[in-house]
C-alpha cells in the first residue's frame, strides 16, 4: 500500500461516480475517483475526434439531471450551461413532415394539419403525462424499500410508497399501472390516430432498450424520458454548451472544489477484500491504494464479477447478475460536415435544424427496425435521433461547418457472427443511406465519420454489452429489483464495498440520481 490514505475510493469517473464523490467530499470524506480513460465522464464525454470537430461521442442531450444535484453542487458555477433544443421534426415518407415546436400553439397548429383529433388529444395526454411524471418523481428520489423485508426502515418506506400511490386517486393509479405494463405503441394507440406522431413519441420508449414499440414494458421508458419535462431546471431537453462532457467536467469541478481528488488514466484491476471487507483497490499498473470505502460506479456485471471474485459472493446474487439484461441495442454515428444538410421536407437553413430530427416515419418502420435486431442483425432502416450540436453551440465545429450526432437503434450487441470492422462500416453505411433519403445532400457533406457499435461502446467506455443505461430499463430490473433483488440499496455483500452507477435505482440517462442516493445511503450508514 502506498501514498495517502483515503476514506473512499470511487471506481469510474462517469457522471454518477463523480456525483457520489462530490457528495462524499462535501460530507468531509477524503475521496479519490479513479478513471481508466484520460478524461472523466464515462459515456458523457466530449472529444475532438477530428481536428476542429468536437463530438458528444456517446450521450448527446440532457434533461433528467436532478435539480437538487445542480443546486447542492452548484454546477452552474462549474460550467453547467444548458442551451435550448427546441423542436423535433419527423420527415414523412410522402415528403411532408411532422414538427413539435417549442411553442405549444405552434405545435397544436402543426398537429391539426395532420389530425385535428390528435391535436386535442395531445394537450390532454400532456396533462396526464405531467401527472404521471409527478407521481413517479418521488420514487426517483427514494432509496428503494424492499417489499419482502420486515425491517422498520423498509416498512416505513413501503408505507410512504403506499400512501403516495393511494394519494394519486384511482384514475391516475390506473394510468400509472398501464404505463408500467403496456407497450408504448399500445399505450399511444389509446390516445392518437396519426401514425408518425405515435411513432415519434414511442421512440423515447425504446431508447437504450432491447424492445420494440410493440413490446410490453416500453411505455415505462417513455415515462422515464418524460420526467425531465416537469422540473424547473430545464423543462425540456437541452444541449449542454460544449457537449455532455462539459456536464461531467462541471461535476468533476464541483467534486474537486469540495476536496475530492480525481485521477485519470488509472484503471482499477480489482477491489482488495480482506476478511469480507473492502480495504482498497489494486490498479492494473500494480499500485495499491487503501480506503475504508470502495464504491463502484461501474455496471453490475463489472462490479460483482470482475472487480471482486464472484466465488466469494452469494450464489443467488451472482446468478441474478448473470441474468441481468444488458443487451446493448443502440449505436452512434458522428459526422463532421462541410455544410448544413438540406431536408427535402423543409429545405434550407431554419429553426428545425436547431432541434432534433427524428427518423420515425411510422410505428411499422420502428417495429421492422426492431425485427432486424430481434433476429441478430442491425436495422437496415433504423430509428434515428439526429441533432446538429454546432447549430446550437457554434463552438462544436469550425465556423460554417457542422457536427451531426446520430443516435441509432437498433444495433444489437449480439450480432449474428459478431461485430467486425466491415460490419461496423456496413452499419454506418445503412445509417447514412437511410438518412440521405430525407436529406439528399448529406453524403456530399461528410468530411469524417465515426461509427460506434455497442461493441465499440463496450470497448471504449467499459459499459457491458455497450448498454448506455448500465442495463436495460426493463420493469424486472427497476426500483427494488435494480440491479438484483436484495441488493438494490447500493450495498454489496462485501462490507465497505458499494455500488453507485446507473445499474442501481433509478438509473438511466444523465440523471445523477443513482450517484446521489448511493452517497446518501453510504453517509447514513455508521462506519
Amino acid at each position: 500500500m502506498s501514498g495517502r490514505r483515503y476514506d473512499a475510493i470511487v471506481i469510474g469517473g462517469g457522471h454518477n461516480g463523480l456525483v457520489t464523490a462530490a457528495y462524499l467530499a462535501r460530507a468531509g470524506r477524503r475521496t479519490l475517483v479513479l478513471e481508466k480513460r484520460p478524461l472523466v465522464g464515462g459515456a458523457a464525454v466530449t472529444e475532438e475526434v477530428f481536428p476542429g470537430f468536437r463530438f458528444t461521442v456517446f450521450s448527446y442531450v440532457v434533461s433528467l439531471l436532478r435539480p437538487e444535484i445542480i443546486r447542492d453542487l452548484d454546477l452552474p458555477k462549474h460550467g453547467l450551461q444548458i442551451l435550448p433544443l427546441e423542436s423535433t421534426i419527423t420527415p414523412l415518407d410522402n415528403g411532408d413532415y411532422l414538427a413539435a415546436w417549442s411553442d405549444p400553439d405552434e405545435t397544436r397548429q402543426e398537429l391539426r394539419r395532420h389530425s385535428p383529433r390528435d391535436a386535442d388529444a395531445s394537450a390532454i395526454f400532456g396533462h396526464l403525462m405531467h401527472h404521471m411524471a409527478m407521481a413517479v418523481k418521488p420514487i426517483l428520489g427514494m432509496i428503494p424499500p424492499d417489499p419482502t423485508s420486515l425491517s422498520p426502515r423498509d416498512l416505513a418506506g413501503l408505507l410512504r410508497l403506499g400512501k403516495h400511490f393511494h394519494s394519486l386517486g384511482p384514475e391516475r393509479f390506473h394510468a400509472l399501472h398501464k404505463l408500467m405494463t403496456m407497450s408504448s405503441a399500445d399505450y399511444l394507440d389509446e390516445w392518437f390516430e396519426f401514425d408518425p406522431l405515435k411513432a415519434t413519441r414511442s421512440a423515447s420508449g425504446i431508447i437504450g432498450t432491447f424492445l420494440g414499440p410493440r413490446s410490453p414494458g416500453s411505455a415505462y421508458v417513455l415515462l422515464h424520458h418524460y420526467m425531465g419535462e416537469i422540473d424547473g431546471a430545464f423543462r425540456a431537453w437541452g444541449f449542454q454548451k460544449g457537449g455532455t462532457g462539459a456536464i461531467s467536467e462541471s461535476i468533476a469541478g464541483a467534486a474537486r472544489a469540495l476536496g475530492a481528488e480525481i485521477r485519470t488514466n488509472a484503471s482499477v484491476e480489482r477491489v482488495i477484500v480482506k476478511n469480507g471487507r473492502a480495504t482498497g483497490v489494486a490498479l492494473s499498473c500494480g499500485e495499491e491504494i487503501a480506503a475504508s470505502l470502495v464504491i463502484s460506479g461501474l455496471d453490475p456485471r463489472l462490479t460483482f464479477t470482475r472487480l471482486v471474485d464472484p466465488k466469494t459472493l452469494p450464489g443467488d446474487l451472482v446468478e441474478g447478475v448473470r441474468r441481468y439484461k444488458f443487451r446493448g441495442s443502440s449505436g452512434k454515428v458522428n459526422l463532421a460536415l462541410s455544410g448544413l444538410p438540406d431536408l427535402s421536407c423543409l429545405p434550407g437553413n431554419g429553426r428545425h435544424l436547431r432541434g432534433a430530427i427524428s427518423i420515425s416515419p411510422s410505428l411499422a418502420y420502428l417495429e421492422r427496425a426492431y425485427d432486424d435486431a430481434k433476429y441478430g442483425e442491425f436495422s437496415r432502416h433504423p430509428y434515428m435521433d439526429v441533432v446538429l450540436p454546432s447549430m446550437i453551440d457554434p463552438g462544436m465545429a469550425p465556423p460554417g461547418q457542422h457536427v451531426m450526432s446520430i443516435f441509432v437503434q437498433y444495433a444489437p450487441y449480439h450480432l449474428n457472427g459478431g461485430w467486425s470492422a466491415a460490419k461496423r462500416e456496413a452499419f454506418g453505411d445503412a445509417v447514412v443511406k437511410t438518412l440521405a433519403r430525407y436529406a439528399p445532400n448529406l453524403e456530399s457533406l461528410i468530411l469524417h465519420r465515426q461509427v460506434l457499435t455497442p461493441d465499440d461502446i463496450e470497448r471504449m467506455t467499459g459499459l457491458s454489452e455497450g448498454n448506455i443505461f448500465q442495463g436495460e430499463l426493463a420493469l424486472q430490473q427497476l426500483f427494488f429489483l435494480r440491479p438484483v433483488p436484495q441488493w438494490a440499496k447500493y450495498r454489496t455483500p462485501i462490507e465497505g464495498y458499494w455500488q453507485c452507477g446507473s445499474g442501481t435505482h433509478p438509473g438511466g440517462g444523465i440523471m445523477g440520481a443513482s450517484g446521489r442516493l448511493a452517497a446518501r445511503e453510504i453517509l447514513g450508514t455508521p462506519r
Partner: protein, 395 residues
C-alpha cells in the same frame, strides 16, 4: 402610431408572434421567437443582436461641454479620457437621481450622452450661459448592441479596429464594411459585448453585415425579454422599473439617491460643484436609509410552497416587473422591483430595495410569492450584485 427604429424593416420580418412592446415611444420586439429562451441563451453562449435605438442620445460639443457635464453627472468628467465611457447617474439639487446612462468622450470637446428618459430640457437648464451646442441625435443615430462571448469574434471579422485593444468602457471610431461607426465596449447584459453607433441611413447595411458575418457564430437577433433577464443577472437597474426619476416621482418617497440604488460607487467624493453634491456628501456621512440589493430566492423553500398545493413550481421564462413585498422577521423590510428565473445560475433572482439595516449581504429575508391565489412567503438571502459576472466581460 408608435415610432419604429431604422432597423424595423429587418426586425419586423423576424417577429414571429407579433410580440411588440413600447420603449421610449418606439415599437420594439419583446422577442422574435414566441418566447425568449433561445435569444437569452445567445447572450450567454454565442452572441445576441439587440436593437437599442430607442435610447435617447445627445451630442454635446463646445468649449464648455466638459463643464456642463461635470456639473450634471455625479462622476468626475475631468477624469474622463478621450475614448472613455462612463456609466453614471445624474441628480437633482436634493441629490435624488434624475436618470442614468452612459457618457462617451468622443474628442476633446465632444461627448455623447445616452439616457433612458428625454433629457434635452435638463441639459439646457444646466447649460445656461455656457458655450456649448446640445443636439438631440436620438433619431439620427441608430444603435445595435452585440452581446455575448462570441461578439468580439464576429465584430473582428468586420472591422479593421483591433478589438483586443478596445478595453471595457472604451469607445472608438472605425468602419464596418466601409460604413463609418463608433464601437463602444458597453452593454446592458453583464457579458462581453459591444454597442455599435451608426448614422441611421446606414442602419440596414450594418444589420445585414452583422447577420452575415455572425451566422456561422450563432448570432441571434434578440428582444427586450431576453435583455431583461440578462440585465437582472448583471444587477443592472432600469428606470421606471427599479426606480423613479426624481422628475417624475409623484411623492417624495419614490425618489432615490444614487446610494440607494447601488450607484454610490459612481458618486465622486472629490470633484468640484455638481448637482446634489451637498446632499450626497451628507448622505455619505450619515449612511443611507435604503439599500438596493440582489435577492437569491431559496429554491427548496419556493418549491415547498407549490408542492403543498400539489403543484410543480411555476416559473416564467420572462422576467417580472412588479413591486413585491420583502419581509424580515415577519415585518415588511422593503420591496423587490424585478426578478426572474436565471437560466444560467439555475436560481430565482430578484432586485430589491431594503431598509437599513436589512441590506447587508447575507441577511435572511422572505419574499412574497403568490401560489394558487394565496400570498405565501419564500426564504431568500441578500446577495451582492451582480449575480452573474463572467471574467470575459472585462477581459
Amino acid at each position: 402610431m408608435l415610432k419604429v427604429t431604422p432597423f424595423h424593416p429587418r426586425t419586423s420580418a423576424l417577429v414571429r408572434a407579433q410580440t411588440w412592446r413600447r420603449w421610449a415611444g418606439y415599437q420594439m420586439a419583446s422577442a422574435y421567437d414566441p418566447h425568449p429562451d433561445r435569444e437569452y441563451a445567445a447572450v450567454r453562449s454565442s452572441a445576441a443582436l439587440f436593437d437599442v435605438s430607442p435610447l435617447h442620445k445627445y451630442r454635446i460639443a463646445g468649449r464648455d461641454a466638459s463643464r456642463l457635464l461635470d456639473r450634471m453627472i455625479t462622476r468626475d468628467v475631468t477624469k474622463l479620457k478621450m475614448g472613455q465611457v462612463y456609466y453614471t447617474p445624474w441628480c437633482d439639487a436634493a441629490g435624488k437621481v434624475v436618470d442614468d446612462g452612459t457618457l462617451s468622450r468622443l474628442d476633446d470637446t465632444t461627448y455623447r450622452l445616452t439616457s433612458a428618459d428625454s433629457s434635452l430640457r435638463w441639459l439646457h437648464m444646466n447649460a445656461v450661459g455656457m458655450d456649448v451646442v446640445i443636439q438631440d441625435v436620438s433619431e439620427q443615430l441608430a444603435t445595435l448592441a452585440l452581446q455575448g462571448p462570441l461578439s468580439r469574434t464576429i465584430l473582428g471579422r468586420l472591422t479593421p479596429l483591433d478589438l483586443s485593444k478596445l478595453k471595457y468602457f472604451r469607445v472608438a471610431h472605425t468602419t464596418i464594411r466601409e460604413i463609418p461607426v463608433s464601437i463602444s465596449r458597453t452593454g446592458y447584459t453583464g457579458d462581453l459585448g459591444y454597442e455599435i453607433w451608426v448614422d441611421a441611413r446606414h442602419a440596414l447595411p450594418l444589420w445585414d453585415a452583422l447577420i452575415e458575418a455572425g451566422t456561422p457564430y450563432g448570432i441571434t437577433p434578440a428582444g427586450v425579454w431576453a435583455l431583461d433577464i440578462a440585465r437582472i443577472e448583471a444587477g443592472l437597474i432600469m428606470l421606471d422599473v427599479d426606480y423613479y426619476s426624481s422628475h417624475h416621482a409623484l411623492i417624495e418617497e419614490r425618489k432615490s439617491s444614487p446610494f440607494e440604488i447601488n450607484l454610490g460607487w459612481a458618486v465622486s467624493a472629490s470633484k468640484g460643484p455638481f448637482n446634489g453634491r451637498g446632499a450626497l456628501a451628507r448622505e455619505r456621512e450619515r449612511g443611507s436609509e435604503w439599500g438596493f440589493v440582489g435577492l437569491e430566492i431559496d429554491w427548496s423553500s419556493f418549491e415547498r410552497l407549490f408542492l403543498a398545493r400539489h403543484l410543480p413550481p411555476q416559473i416564467s421564462n420572462v422576467a417580472w416587473r412588479v413591486s413585491v413585498p420583502v419581509y424580515v422577521h415577519g415585518a415588511q423590510a422593503g420591496y423587490a422591483t424585478s426578478g426572474c428565473w436565471s437560466p444560467i445560475l439555475k436560481k430565482p433572482l430578484a432586485l430589491a430595495h431594503l431598509m437599513r439595516p436589512h441590506f447587508a449581504t447575507g441577511t435572511a429575508v422572505e419574499i412574497e410569492v403568490t401560489v394558487e391565489h394565496r400570498r405565501m412567503r419564500a426564504e431568500a438571502v441578500v446577495r451582492k450584485l451582480p449575480f452573474y459576472d463572467p471574467e470575459r466581460k472585462k477581459a
